[in-house]
């Protein structure tokens, strides 16, 4: 603190010299600037991730709150513990379990919503040691093109509802904990 006081007193001399000469030269500047940061759960974040449907293929839990998915859904597994995806197959899940009983089913398992300031392209990345392949697709797209192959652009405030496509070629029987990365850039 004392050092700064001393410097302050001396400093005036330079400042006045600088002004009289009319130059804007400076040797060094260090400016402390404040940044306030808060993290938010999936439902309140800049890239909002909202689970759709209440059939327990997706749940939101934890703190911070995160969405998780289960195929088959948790309720399906409770009803039949032996249930699973067949191997050497392609599965597409475009809605939660109960929705098929509805007259107008809600499509999509996950809504991805852009609450940032810029348009972003959205896609998924899946890295795994297993043989499984997991990708997202736009449930409103008749071709069900994977997001990673043709990334849709989300404007500010726009959202997209996606389903899951899971390929099980060459995979073993068992339960796999996989991580899907959702990219927006």
């Amino acid at each position: 603190m004392k050092r700064r006081t001393l410097l302050t007193v001396l400093s005036g001399v330079t400042a006045s010299v600088g002004l009289s000469v009319g130059t804007g030269a400076f040797t060094s500047v260090s400016a402390d600037r404040r940044l306030e940061v808060q993290t938010a759960g999936d439902n309140n974040a800049l890239l909002k991730l909202k689970q759709l449907g209440d059939g327990k293929r997706s749940i939101e839990s934890g703190s911070p709150e995160e969405v998780e998915f289960s195929f088959p859904g948790l309720q399906e597994r409770l009803d039949n513990p032996h249930l699973g995806l067949g191997v050497d197959s392609v599965y597409e899940f475009d809605r939660d379990t109960k929705q098929s009983a509805e007259s107008v089913p809600n499509e999509g398992l996950l809504r991805i919503e852009n609450y940032g300031n810029q348009s972003v392209e959205v896609y998924s990345k899946h890295e795994t040691d297993s043989e499984l392949e997991i990708e997202l697709y736009d449930v409103a797209d008749p071709d069900e093109t994977a997001l990673r192959d043709d990334s849709p652009k989300l404007g500010v405030g726009d959202s997209i509802d996606v389903g899951f496509r899971i390929r099980t070629f060459g995979a073993d029987i068992g339960t796999f904990d996989e991580t899907l990365t959702i990219m927006a850039d």
Partner: protein
């Protein structure tokens, strides 16, 4: 406010020294002189920090006061007036927010701009790694960039750990510019780059806090030959 005192202070030492040489021996002199100091808002400072509306993410900057700040929290996050607006950055995610404000050299010399990771507070959000969040300031739209062209550069990466020095055969600042070249982060008079952030949260616990980032510009370490720059 302390920043401005500090800047002014650097120059005055020279003045005092010069006086000493010219006047012979004395124990102490006290001479009162009139001094004119003009402080400016950040956007008009010698190192100007300006959240221009043309920048993609200037909405995250708060330039209502004299010193600019960045708000990525509940009260001020953009879109707060719309339903379901975001309350924070994603947890368990890597968020990159570039182009928040412009850093412009309004002085008369080339300056090298960096952020010393040891001076970021709290230290837990930096390399120390004890917080669930890691925050690293970024520079994009650099006018003299020769390294990793097309990518934003970390303003702290002019410092390296011992392991990084061994692994990459690079010396840290100020011997070398760490991973970069001096010209990468040098601004000639009138030149500017865009300041942004890289925020990585590991998902373990929510994190809320205030971080202080020391943005430093030094003429001493600036590249002098900027080649094709204007």
């Amino acid at each position: 406010m302390e920043r401005r005192k500090f800047i002014a202070g650097l120059g005055s030492l020279t003045a005092a020294g010069a006086a000493g040489i010219g006047t012979g021996a004395f124990s102490s002199v006290s001479a009162d002189r009139a001094v004119a100091v003009t402080n400016a808002d950040d956007s008009d400072a010698l190192l100007a920090l300006d959240a221009k509306a043309s920048l993609a993410n200037s909405a995250y900057a708060d330039d209502s006061g004299n010193a600019i700040s960045i708000d990525l929290n509940n009260d001020d996050l953009n879109g707060a007036s719309t339903n379901g607006a975001a309350k924070g950055v994603n947890s368990d995610a890597t968020t990159k927010i570039l182009e928040i404000f412009e850093v412009k050299n309004q002085g008369t010399q080339n300056v090298f701009v960096y952020v010393d990771p040891d001076d970021i507070t709290p230290q837990s959000v930096g390399d120390d790694g004890s917080a669930p969040i890691y925050i690293d300031p970024q520079a994009s739209d650099l006018p003299n960039q020769t390294s990793y062209v097309g990518s934003a550069l970390s303003l702290t990466s002019v410092w390296l750990t011992d392991a990084e020095i061994d692994e990459h055969g690079r010396d840290e600042f100020p011997g070398e510019a760490g991973y970069y070249e001096p010209e990468d982060l040098t601004l000639a008079p009138g030149q500017s780059f865009s300041f942004g952030l890289y925020i990585d949260h590991d998902g373990t616990n929510d994190w809320t806090g205030t971080v202080t980032l020391p943005i430093t510009a030094s003429a001493e370490h600036a590249a002098t030959n900027l080649g094709s720059s204007e």
